[in-house]
Amino acid sequence: MNYDRPQELLKPVKRRFITLTFVVALALELLPLPQGSNRWLPDFVALLILYWSVNQPRRIGIGMAFGIGLLADVVTTSMFGQHALAYSVGAYLILLRQQQLVMFNLGQQTLVILVLMVLMQLLMAIARWSVGASLPGLGYFLPALVGALLWPLLTKLMLLPYRSERH
């Protein structure tokens, strides 16, 4: 049984809300943050892709992940297709086991997310490496770790607007 997951009746998620979350995540990428911050700041767009494909697999699937990945490619000034590749693979891996994943408690989910985030980072590194960039050090995976640690918080935050008033 899962004890962590809120089991109260949730209102259906609006498409508008999903769009809004992605817009906010992309805007976060565009913030002129101090230079060092991207050494630990997680990829919020990737986290959201994982979150929505766990919780709303009919809305955010592989195709959507690919499209949003393209946007992320432009926003982060990286190669075209780099984020798209990583995100669509991430979404696919989630969809393979989605029905088990939603039943996991937050701790178990966090572990899965950690693995997936690292895998996505690795895919991007390989994509870059294959077109001529150097391989990054281990510090490159710190954002993935931070992102996974933020997962429980993200889940609670996303459910906030969808709690019914009385339960």
Partner: protein
């Protein structure tokens, strides 16, 4: 009850595996197309224009805080800054006066010697919007684009020295590749001796490579652009030599150096006009000049 768990009975379209294969293939095609052939520039332009409002919106909170901060700046600080600026202005205007007469003289001499006149050095000031999050590409996005007359290949400097080069221009913004980017090469010369060399970015820093051991170079030497290309004006400071390793047995000295400009910190930059080179002389058999900039390859 959890809606997310409801199985999808009506399976529409492709199986997930098929979809993934399609997306992966498309990504790989894009990756190759973008990196090897630069096919995607148009699409990138279009997407970046669509994203521009978002870009500006993301900058609003920061600008607001900066404005509020400006408003509450203590008068003493303003006064001090004002004094310092005035002093600098005085010194620089005296320099300028001499400069303008020298420039006139130089143009005259160039005309006498039938050399191409250099363009005036007016630059365009731009603000850094954000730095790309991608740790592989040391790039900046600035808020001026082709609509302000920016063209790909122009040099970008700040008040201290060279920051990089405009590598991608979109209608309302432009991408600047920084000197510390891997693949970035600047033709420089040692200011003290005039010895020419190449400064390579290696992803996070710069170093001079292929400098014979016997070269006269010392720590703290200033490396400035040599102007031996069509990109940089002569004499823009680029880096300062930090440490020189002369290993016995190696043909070249290892010269570690440090970038002077605030490549990671400047908020305002100046985009310099390209240096106009005289038309290439008809004898084309000249061996390829080693001091040629490699215009980045992403």
């Amino acid at each position: 009850m959890n809606f997310a768990n409801t199985p999808s009975f009506a399976n529409q379209g492709l199986q997930p595996g098929g979809r993934l294969a399609l997306c992966v293939l498309a990504s790989l095609a894009l990756l190759v197309g973008d990196s090897q052939y630069g096919l995607m520039e148009k699409a990138r332009d279009a997407i970046s224009v669509v994203l521009y409002p978002l870009q500006r919106a993301a900058n609003v909170p920061l600008n607001l805080t900066m404005q509020v901060g400006d408003f509450f700046t203590a008068q003493a600080a303003l006064k001090r800054e004002n004094d310092a600026l005035r002093e600098r202005d005085l010194i620089q205007s005296s320099h300028l006066m001499r400069m303008s007469s020298l420039e006139k003289e130089l143009q005259q001499l160039r005309r006498l010697n039938a050399l191409a006149a250099q363009p005036s050095h007016a630059g365009v000031v731009a603000e850094v919007l954000y730095t790309g999050r991608d740790p592989f590409s040391y790039r900046l996005i600035i808020d001026k684009g082709s609509s302000s007359g920016i063209a790909s290949g122009q040099a970008v400097i700040d008040e201290n020295g060279l920051i990089g080069q405009v590598t991608r221009v979109q209608p309302l913004s432009a991408e600047v590749t920084q000197v510390i980017n891997r693949h970035y090469i600047v033709p420089v010369m040692i200011e003290r001796t005039g010895h020419r060399a190449l400064l390579y970015g290696f992803g996070g820093g710069v170093e001079v490579r292929y400098l014979p051991i016997s070269t006269d170079i010392r720590e703290n030497d200033l490396l400035v652009t040599s102007g031996v290309d069509g990109v940089y004006l002569q004499g823009i400071p680029v880096a300062r030599v930090k440490q020189i390793d002369r290993l016995g047995g190696a043909a070249f000295a290892r010269v570690r150096s440090e970038v002077i400009a605030g490549v990671q910190s400047s908020r305002f930059v100046v985009i310099m006009p390209n240096r106009r080179l005289p038309a290439t002389p008809p004898v084309a058999e000249a061996p390829a000049d080693t001091a040629k900039t490699d215009k980045k390859s992403p």
